[in-house]
Amino acid sequence: MRRMRRRLARGNPLVSLLLGSFSLLGVIALLSGSLTVYGGQFSGQIAGSGTFRSGTQLLSDTIGGTNCLSSPNSNAGIASNHATCTTYPLSTAVGSASTTTLGSQGSVAPTSASVATGGTCGVQQFADTSATGSNTGLPLGGATFGATGPSSFTDSPRSVAFDGSTGWGETLSSLVMPANYTLMAWIKPSALNGVILGATSTQSNVAAANNDRMLWIDAAGRLDFGNDVTTLRTTAASALTSGTWYFVVATKSTTTGMTTYINGVAKNSVASAGAKATLNYNGFWHLGWGGAVGSAFSNLPTTDYFAGDIADAAVFPTALTAAAVTGLYGQTTQAAFSAQVVADAPTSYWALQDTGTSLYSGAIANVAANGGGTNFRDSSNNPGTNAGTGAGGLGVDLSGPIGDTATTMNGTTGWIQTAVGTPTAFYASPGPQSFSIAAWFKATTSGSIMGFTNLQSNAAPGTWDRHMWLDAAGHVAFGVYPNAVFEVNSSATTGTNYADGNWHFAVATVAPVSATVGTVLLYVDGSLVAGSVGNETITGSDPAQVYGGWWHLGWSNANNGWTDGPTSGYWGGSLGQIAVFPSVLSAANVASLHGASSALAYLSAVTGGVATSNAYWPLDEGAQPASPACTYIAVTIQAGSACIYPIATGACPSVPSSNWLSMSSSIPTALPALKFTTAVSGAVPAAAVGLHVSVPWTVTGGASGFSSQLSHNSGYVLL
């Protein structure tokens, strides 16, 4: 361009003049910042934006009209997405049903959901918060946690409400009853009747050989204190009224006698020899109950049960001074009051400040665990009566296969004996000739998955075969005895060590080809691993030995006689979803069973969907709780049209004895309503009647990294 301009300028002075003019203008424009006008730059622009929104996975449940939300309903409120609800999914009355309605409250529906017991089952307790803290109290009957506490405290104190007819608390320690002592409690009577605190020589609320050291309210509203055979009644002017909080104290000294205080002020005292006397016996303290009715004391109540609220009950091993009593009454917060009580060194102090979520799972006198043991149901529909009985070291694996729980076995004593061995329409004897067995297993060591013997025990059998096990190298093996030891082993096609701590699915099929020839195939995780090549076709009088017998789960006698037998007759690991089929499953059948993604789907598959089993043990029963009282309550959970505990199609069965309060089950993601039904399991000991059996429950939902949880800790079933 510049060269052209030079050429033009050289040839024509006028052109040169004009070009020179434009050049000058260009310089001027550049200096004035008008380059864009003359530079000619076009542009187009779209100023947009991108917004990425995350979903919400929130869960709610409704029990008795009360909603509980996994997250607060507020902006920036979602943090843990885990809420502790005030409701409880089980009805207090054993044998009753209670419904929990679930709701997905987020933009993302859960892709998984489950219900589980969220902790250890136990009984509610009145914790002893004294320095020694060893004399736990247990509420029985109509005693309800979480009532409002003394009105003079400013820090939201609590109390326990007693119904005046069934509610009371027993203590667990048998103590030498003290000669010098103080009884203390905050009370708000709802009726002028009943015993606030007292001792008897028995742990229960029945007539006892000895009963004294008690405080009660008589019909006139006056406070009475009984020691040995002496009754000290407060003055008429200090009569109590219903619905008012009072701080009541009674002291007894072998030197000064008996004194009663109301709200820090002495209301009567007696220093007679009788008042200084001591009735010696070993006994138990009772809260909200005492053996007053029918006793030798005066001004007796018409009932031994207290009606109203009690808080901060304590027993001291000395007669507190008037100053100490006044000092206690002068506290303005429950926290300060508790600190002062502890400082005054009580023998026992039941503050009664919790909400019933603190559970006791230890021993209770005269309450032994339910001896029924765990019954492993047969969920086959043909006819489903070959239940198993657990023995030895069994437990629960909450991380079972296909979303279910499973049974753990300790490898040395734990196993399951099945019930039916005699000939029936479905359990032919001799043992099955044309059949299949299937099991999910998880282990890190060799052991027996299942086996068939001629004995209904794990004693040394006379005949045994149809065994499945993991050999010493972690290979899956299956053996029959067609007049000779014969086995198929996964090592035929793979060196995989299946004792790797992961869940695997094994299926063995036995197909008689003729009277003397059969084919045995072994599948692991849906694939054929043995029996596909020549030497697995067996020859004998029968493919499997002819004898009548029983199936054993988690135990076999394969460690005797087979070349690659397990290192133990027991199973050290977890087992689940074991089924026996009176038919030969095809490879497609096996693949379908392996592909069943949930326990409900598997149940459907083994009860006709893929094949019809004649025995099916899900092995997903909960563990018998450690707390003896808990072993007398069982539960079922109906989720819409399916029963999820125990897993069953259709309606739940009547509550099986082994459906303990220790479980975990998947909930269909459509979140149907859950109906919890409880029942008594076994014969409840008299000493356990009235105990508050409780276990925390959790309902959870999840969707790819997001999760929601609702915890229900405050509730119980009345045993």
Binding site: A9, G20, S43, G44, G50, L58, P72, N73, S107, S704
Partner: protein, 231 residues
């Protein structure tokens, strides 16, 4: 070299003379009547247009309004729709894919090409208002949310990853490439030239990172995405 210097000097002299002549021309009047002949005619000078359109899941918009005389700034800041996708149910480790197509709708070719400039990300509450019981619930992690939105941008026209810049396919979404790091790496060249009528296709993949927690529920991360087509 010498020749150029002479010419430049001559040009300056000519320019000065030109200015003088123009000044004289403006002031001289010839006082003589003359004959004249005139032919009426017109000259038309027509400028080209350089316009950009963007199509996302919401629709298509132009850098300038489609009406006579409407091109002024040729900047449209009112395009609707999110170029990062419109999902409201995103959860960790599940990717969301959106497509954006940018087209030179003008009459002239772009010699300087098409660029994308992304701005700083900001997070805000975006609760699921349809919930019967939790219509206001949103996560508390507004400070960290932008850094948990993994993003990649793939140019389907060139078959290259725009962000992160990669010769071929984009890597899987990861915490290495988020809305926060993308803003730092911006601007991005989408095309070095773009002929009239030609377009550039983008596939934008977003995913809530595996490190996201419940506190990242119900949030919205927003970042500006400006596309500029130069002459």
């Amino acid at each position: 070299m010498d020749s150029d210097r002479r010419t430049r000097k001559g040009g300056v002299i000519a320019a000065l003379i030109g200015v003088a002549v123009l000044g004289l021309t403006a002031s001289i009047t010839l006082g003589v009547t003359t004959f004249s002949a005139q032919v009426g005619g017109t000259g038309t000078f027509q400028t080209g247009t350089l316009l950009l359109s963007k199509t996302n899941s919401t629709g298509t918009c132009l850098s300038s309004s489609n009406s006579a005389g409407s091109i002024t700034t040729n900047i449209n800041a009112a395009c609707s729709g999110s170029d990062l996708g419109s999902g409201t149910t995103n959860v960790p480790q599940v990717s969301q894919v959106s497509t954006v197509t940018l087209t030179n709708q003008g009459s002239i070719n772009s010699a300087t090409g098409l660029t994308l400039t992304t701005g700083a990300c900001a997070a805000a509450a975006a609760p699921y208002g349809a919930s019967a019981l939790n219509p206001l619930s949103s996560g508390s992690d507004t400070a960290g949310f932008c850094g948990k939105v993994d993003v990649t941008i793939f140019n389907t026209t060139t078959a290259k990853c725009v962000y992160p810049v990669t010769a071929g396919a984009c890597p899987a979404p990861s915490s290495a490439n988020t809305l926060v790091t993308m803003a730092s790496a911006s601007p991005f060249t989408l095309a070095s030239t773009l002929a009239s009528g030609a377009n550039v296709g983008l596939t934008i993949t977003t995913q809530l990172d595996a490190t996201a927690t419940n506190a990242d529920q119900g949030l919205a991360a927003n970042a500006s995405m400006t596309y500029t087509l130069g002459q």
